[in-house]
C-alpha cells in the first residue's frame, strides 16, 4: 500500500460520509473515491459501523406532557411574555430615532379610540358621569355631543368636528370611566362572551367558589320575593329550591343559587339585607392545575385525532388495519368529547359560584283563633270518661292484687288481739 496515492485522509473520508466537508474537498473526495478501491473499502466499513449502530433503536416515549410541565408552562406565561434584554435595547433605539413619528401616530390613535369607543361604551351613562363631578351640564348638550361624536366615527378625519366642550366631555368621561370601571353594559357583554365558550385559559387562578349563608327573616314572603329579584339582578339562577312549612315552627327556604363568580360578593351583601344573618361561610377550591392538565391532554388527543384522520385518508392498507385505525379514532373522539364536557363543566363551575342560602322565618307562636267544634269536644269527653273509668277499674284491681295478700295476713294476725281489746272496752262500758 502506498500512502502517497491517497490524496484524501481517512478522517476526511469519514467527514465526507457525514457531510462535514467543505464543497471543494467533498468534490475531490468524490473524485478520488471513484478510482480508489481501498478508500471505497474503508467507506463501506464506516457505513457498516453506522448501519450496525442504527439497529439499536430506542422505543418511542409513552407519556405526554406531564402535569408539572403544564403547570410550569402556565406559570411561565406572564414571565416569558417579557422581551429579552437584546430586544429591549432595540426598542429603545427605535424609540430614540423615531420618537416624533411615534408620538404623532400615538396621538392620532388615541383620539380615534376615544371618538369610536367612548360614545359606544358610555351612551347610557352620560348623565351619571357628569353628576359625579358635580358640574351641572345641560343634558341636552350632553346628548348633542354624544350624537356628534357618534357621527364622527364615520368620518375619515381623525379629528372629530366637536368643539372644545366635546374635548372637555371626553376628559370628564374618561376620568369617570376610570373611576367607575367598565360600564355595566360592556361588562355584561364580556361575561356573555366568556360564558358562551370556555375559551383560552384565563390568566389568573381558576377558583371554584362556594358560599353558605343562613338568614332569619321577619317577613318570609317578602324575603323570598326579594331573593328572586336579587338573583335576577345579578344574572344568577336557581340550582335547587326547597320550601318547608312545618306546623309549630317557622317556614324555611333552602336554595342552591348559582351566580357569576364576580357577582358573588355583591349577591351575598344583598342577601344579607334580607334579615338577620345566622351563619355565613365561604370557601374556594383552586382548580388551575387541573384545568391546565386537562387542556394539555385535550390538545394532545386532538393532535392524535388529526394524525389518525390523515392516516386514514392518505394510507391504503389492509382492511384490518383500516378498521383498527377507525376503532382507535372512535376511541380518541370519545375521549375528546368526554374531556371537552369536563372542561366545560369546570369552566362553568369557575365562572358560576355556588351560594347555598337558607332563609328561616322568625317564628312567633300565635293564639289559636278557631276553637274545636262542640261535637268533637263531646266525643272527646266521652272517650276521656270511658278511658278514665277503665283506668280506675284496672288500677283498683291492680292495687288489690298487689296489696291483698299482705292485708289478709296482717288482718289475720291482728284480728284476735283486736277482738280482745274491743270486748274489754265493751265490758268496761257495760259495768
Amino acid at each position: 500500500m502506498n500512502k502517497i496515492v491517497h490524496p484524501i485522509e481517512p478522517e476526511e473520508l469519514m467527514a465526507y460520509l457525514d457531510g462535514e466537508l467543505p464543497a471543494d474537498r467533498a468534490n475531490a473526495t468524490a473524485a478520488h473515491l471513484g478510482e480508489c478501491a481501498e478508500c471505497q473499502g474503508l467507506v463501506a466499513e464506516l457505513r457498516n459501523v453506522s448501519h450496525t449502530l442504527k439497529t439499536w433503536k430506542a422505543e418511542p416515549p409513552k407519556s405526554a406532557v406531564s402535569a408539572a410541565i403544564a403547570t410550569a408552562l402556565a406559570e411561565s406565561r406572564p414571565i416569558s411574555r417579557g422581551v429579552t434584554p437584546a430586544r429591549r435595547r432595540n426598542w429603545r433605539q427605535v424609540l430614540g430615532q423615531r420618537w416624533p413619528t411615534l408620538a404623532w401616530v400615538g396621538a392620532v390613535a388615541a383620539i380615534l379610540l376615544l371618538a369610536v369607543g367612548v360614545p359606544t361604551l358610555h351612551r347610557g351613562r352620560a348623565d351619571y358621569a357628569f353628576s359625579r363631578h358635580g358640574e351641572p351640564v345641560d343634558s341636552a348638550v350632553v346628548t348633542k355631543t354624544v350624537r356628534e361624536q357618534s357621527e364622527a366615527r364615520s368620518l375619515p378625519s381623525p379629528q372629530p368636528p366637536a368643539a372644545a366642550k366635546a374635548k372637555q366631555f371626553d376628559r370628564l368621561q374618561t376620568f369617570a370611566q376610570l373611576q367607575a370601571g367598565p360600564p355595566v353594559k360592556y361588562k355584561r357583554w364580556l361575561q356573555d362572551q366568556s360564558a358562551d365558550e370556555p375559551g383560552p385559559l384565563p390568566n389568573g387562578p381558576m377558583i371554584i367558589r362556594t358560599a353558605e349563608l343562613s338568614v332569619i327573616a321577619k317577613e318570609f314572603d317578602k324575603a323570598r320575593a326579594n331573593l328572586e329579584a336579587i338573583l335576577k339582578r345579578h344574572r344568577g339562577y336557581v340550582g335547587e329550591l326547597k320550601a318547608n312549612d312545618s306546623t309549630g315552627g317557622g317556614r324555611t327556604l333552602t336554595a342552591t343559587l348559582r351566580v357569576p363568580a364576580d357577582q358573588l360578593d355583591a349577591t351575598l351583601t344583598e342577601v344579607k339585607t334580607l334579615g338577620r344573618v345566622e351563619s355565613e361561610s365561604q370557601s374556594g377550591q383552586d382548580v388551575t392545575s387541573q384545568y391546565v392538565d386537562l387542556e394539555a391532554r385535550l390538545s394532545n388527543a386532538r393532535n392524535t385525532e388529526e394524525r389518525l384522520t390523515d392516516l386514514l385518508r392518505n394510507r391504503t392498507g389492509k382492511l384490518s388495519d383500516v378498521l383498527a385505525v377507525e376503532q382507535e379514532l372512535d376511541r380518541v373522539r370519545g375521549e375528546i368529547e368526554r374531556m371537552e364536557a369536563e372542561r366545560k363543566n369546570m369552566a362553568t363551575q369557575v365562572s358560576y359560584a355556588t351560594l347555598n342560602a337558607t332563609i328561616t322565618e322568625d317564628y312567633k307562636a300565635q293564639l289559636q283563633v278557631v276553637p274545636p267544634s262542640t261535637s268533637n269536644r263531646l266525643s272527646n269527653a266521652a272517650v276521656e270518661g270511658y278511658r278514665s273509668m277503665a283506668d280506675g277499674v284496672l288500677s283498683l284491681a291492680l292495687f288489690l292484687l298487689s296489696t291483698g295478700p299482705s292485708l289478709l295476713l296482717w288482718g289475720a294476725v291482728l284480728f284476735l288481739p283486736a277482738r280482745m281489746v274491743w270486748k274489754k272496752i265493751r265490758r268496761s262500758f257495760a259495768s
Partner: protein
C-alpha cells in the same frame, strides 16, 4: 424557541412534539430503566420552560436542548455513583427485551473510552454535526473528528471479532495513516 420565549404556547407544543422522541432516545440509550428516561425527558423540558427567559439564540435549539440533557445526565450519573456502594458495579442496563444484536452493540460501546463513546453516540444517534458536538463537549472540532474516527475504527473491531485479526490490523494501519496525515498537516 424564540416564539416560545415570546409566550407562544403553541411553539412549546411544537418543540415538545419534535424533540420528545430524540431526547427520550438520548436518555434511554445512556441509562437503564425506561421510566427514568421518561422522567429526565420531562425534566429537560421543564428546565427549558424555567430558563426560557434566559435563553439567547447563540446556539441551535437542538444543541441547547442536548446541553440541558447532558447536564441532567451527568447529575443523574453522579447521584447513582453516590447511591450505589463503592466497589459494586452499577446495575447492568435493562436488556430483557433487547435482542442479541442490541446487546452486542451495547457491549461494544462499553469498551470504548468515555469521551469517544459520547462523541460517537451524539453523532450516530443524535445526528449532531461535528461543530455541535464540539460546542456541547467544549472540545475543538478537529479533536471531535479524530476521536470520532478512532472510536468508529475501534468499534468496527469490537463488532466483528471473527475477522478481528485482519480487521484490527487494517484499522491500526488506518489510524496510523490518519495520525501521520495529521502530523503532516500540523507540520505544514
Amino acid at each position: 424557541m424564540l416564539e416560545f420565549q415570546g409566550g407562544s404556547h403553541h411553539a412549546f407544543e411544537e418543540l415538545f412534539a419534535r424533540y420528545r422522541g430524540p431526547l427520550y432516545g438520548f436518555f434511554r440509550r445512556r441509562l437503564d430503566g425506561d421510566q427514568r428516561a421518561e422522567d429526565l425527558t420531562q425534566e429537560t423540558f421543564l428546565a427549558v420552560i424555567r430558563a426560557a427567559e434566559r435563553y439567547e439564540p447563540t446556539a441551535l435549539v437542538r444543541t441547547y436542548l442536548y446541553g440541558i440533557a447532558m447536564n441532567l445526565l451527568a447529575a443523574e450519573r453522579r447521584r447513582r455513583a453516590k447511591d450505589s456502594p463503592p466497589g459494586k458495579e452499577a446495575p447492568e442496563p435493562a436488556t430483557r427485551e433487547a435482542p442479541d444484536s442490541v446487546l452486542w452493540i451495547r457491549q461494544a460501546l462499553e469498551k470504548l473510552d468515555d469521551s469517544e463513546r459520547e462523541i460517537l453516540m451524539l453523532r450516530e444517534y443524535e445526528q449532531l454535526s461535528y461543530a455541535e458536538i464540539a460546542e456541547l463537549l467544549k472540545l475543538p472540532v478537529n479533536t471531535v473528528r479524530s476521536r470520532l474516527f478512532r472510536s468508529r475504527m475501534a468499534l468496527k473491531g469490537y463488532l466483528e471479532p471473527q475477522r478481528k485479526s485482519s480487521d484490527s490490523a487494517a484499522a491500526g494501519e488506518l489510524v496510523e495513516r490518519a495520525k501521520l496525515a495529521q502530523a503532516e498537516g500540523e507540520a505544514i
